[in-house]
């Protein structure tokens, strides 16, 4: 007699809402006329994300945490990570809603007649919204997945839409398509490694659940475990762009449409780090002697290389890409700490970093000349004099990246380094502080360029943002400011939510 498995729909409801909205978005795209389609798609996206957030709030204190026959564990940390993804996605969708950043018809050859006609007739496709929602749904699933199948499926569900989104820029389409190709080939390569590692973890433990892998310790073939840990880590370290798996990051960040870069930089980090934390804290906890030294070395390499190479960058988006690599290194010290404090600090850091990143890329999208966005740093010279407000907001965000006191970046770095220090990992703390000092140099150099150098090129200007971008950038900036000046609320909730349930 077969019994129907209990899925736990209530716990899954935030994800179901987002996925259902994505499917509805596909139908709207197929059947609705072009006049109101963009508005409808935006409403569906925002509505679904808000509903998901409400639903997350409602399930935050439920005692049962496993759903879908133990393949998903919606514990406290899982809810916090999901909420972080949804909040960041809500801010990002307002940037994405600026349709003129995206190509009217992705299938039209760049520079062709077809493309020009589509632009002229305002035949703008709006498939970015469903793709965006699928990615968000996958990102919500990834940090709560507790078996290897669900992890792999979630990884692909959020990656595949991102590969496509990276190629949808309206201007400089060849660059954008090239970014999509690179991201796709390298991303698929990394997920093949992840899957091969997962196979060996299954061979080692005889089960695909993370808890089973952890409890098999000592009783099975350690070689399988070693191969499994290494290959699964390669897949995950690629997604968080840790050295030596970072080479795609600058290219993709530069080539992708800026709103997508913002979304990708903020939300992928949250999802990938969420899953990384869960896998290492639960699945590999018993094997920490194997992975802790390796991840420590990778963390140190990542933060140092990210900070040093960022100095040499001439392009704002590439500079922020290297800065995001450095931040991945800082975040890895929270993984190595392997303690409740480390987890709480990572949760805080992810939220703070995500907000700052969204606002920073939002501002990059505003600096333009007649051909489109200007990302060459040399042409940003004197921007603060032309537009003091945008200049000072960007300077504030850079200071937050650098981790100057009174910004959320400082609180995050302080929390994560003290967690690493308490776990006895002095090397990572010392290199973290040194890397931050190097990083502060180039952030401050950019601030000096913006404010204290006379403008040379007059064709570059700051456009007046649309209302949606305005809301998005100001919400992200203000939140980042608040979490820097009065971080106690977010810190307390991160600490309260910092539990993984086995």
């Amino acid at each position: 007699m077969l019994t129907a498995p209990s899925l736990g729909y209530l716990l899954l409801s935030p994800m179901i809402i987002v996925f259902a909205a994505a499917v509805i978005g596909v139908l709207v795209e197929a059947f609705m006329g072009k006049t109101h389609r963009a508005a409808v798609q935006l409403t569906i996206s925002i509505g679904a994300l808000l509903l998901a957030l409400v639903q997350l709030w409602r399930i935050r204190d439920l005692s049962s945490t496993t759903a879908a026959v133990n393949s998903v564990t919606i514990d406290k940390a899982g809810i916090f990570l999901q909420a972080t993804v949804v909040v960041l996605a809500l801010i990002a969708v307002l940037l994405i809603a600026d349709q003129e950043n995206f190509t009217a018809q992705a299938s039209a050859v760049p520079g062709s007649n077809e493309e020009a006609v589509a632009l002229l007739q305002k035949n703008q496709q709006t498939e970015i919204f469903p793709l965006f929602l699928f990615a968000v749904g996958g990102m919500m699933l990834f940090p709560v997945a507790t078996d290897l199948i669900t992890l792999f499926v979630a990884l692909e569900v959020f990656s595949l839409p991102l590969y496509l989104l990276a190629g949808l820029s309206r201007r400089r389409r060849l660059l954008s398509q090239e970014a999509a190709l690179k991201y796709f080939l390298l991303g698929a390569y990394a997920s093949a490694f992840f899957l091969f590692g997962a196979a060996f973890l299954y061979g080692y433990a005889g089960t695909i659940s993370l808890v089973g892998i952890s409890s098999a310790a000592g009783s099975a073939n350690e070689v399988f475990l070693l191969i499994g840990i290494i290959f699964v880590s390669i897949g995950l370290l690629f997604k968080i762009s840790a050295v030596p798996f970072h080479s795609w990051t600058p290219d993709v960040y530069q080539g992708a449409p800026t709103p997508i870069t913002a979304f990708m930089a903020a939300c992928t980090k949250v999802a990938a780090f969420g899953a990384l934390l869960r896998i290492f804290y639960i699945g590999f906890a018993e094997a920490q002697t194997i992975w802790q030294p390796i991840i420590t070395v990778i963390a140190i390499l990542t933060m140092v290389l990210g900070s040093v190479v960022a100095i040499a960058q001439r392009d704002v988006k590439r500079m922020l890409a290297y800065s995001s690599i450095a931040h991945a290194g800082f975040l890895l010290s929270g993984v190595v700490a392997l303690s409740k404090d480390g987890l709480a600090a990572s949760l805080f850091y992810l939220m703070a970093y995500g907000l700052t990143t969204l606002a920073a890329f939002g501002i990059i999208g505003l600096v333009r000349d007649s051909t489109g966005e200007v990302t060459d740093l040399n042409r940003w010279v004197g921007l603060g004099k032309k537009s003091p407000l945008v200049g000072s907001v960007f300077a504030f965000l850079l200071l937050s990246f650098a981790g100057i006191p009174l910004t959320s970046g400082f609180i995050g770095k302080f929390a994560i380094f003290s967690a690493a220090y308490q776990s006895g990992n002095i090397a990572i703390v010392v290199s973290g502080v040194l890397a931050s000092a190097i990083a502060a140099f180039f952030y401050i150099r950019v601030i000096i360029m913006i404010f204290f150098t006379d403008p040379v090129n007059d064709s570059v200007s700051v456009i007046i943002p649309s209302v949606k971008s305005k809301i998005s950038i100001s919400v992200a900036t203000v939140a980042s400011l608040i979490f820097g000046v009065a971080p106690s609320w977010l810190l307390t909730s991160a600490t309260n939510f910092a539990t993984f349930i086995k």
């Binding site: 389409r173 398509q177 090239e178 080939l185 196979a199």
Partner: protein, 99 residues
Amino acid sequence: MAVANYLYLSAILFTIGAIGVVVRRNSIVVFMCIELMLNAANLAFVTFARINGNLEGQVVAFFTMVVAACEVVVGLAIIVTIYRSRRSASVDDASLLKR
């Protein structure tokens, strides 16, 4: 024949795929090498299912096939778009983004 031989085969297939991705220049061939890696992982899953005496590994293999199919859809879409705009599917020609 010992079941472990299938594991060796899977490791060899995976290595061929992994090296192919690095060495080959045509993006379609690179993509095929990635598919080869996924199938090597599938073979490992099925072999381990046999060794461990449970079905979970075979279930994973089914999921992997579905995911690989989705990947083909997205991947070929990207490669074909690039080919249409450049008349070339070589990964070396795609080098506008400076290193």
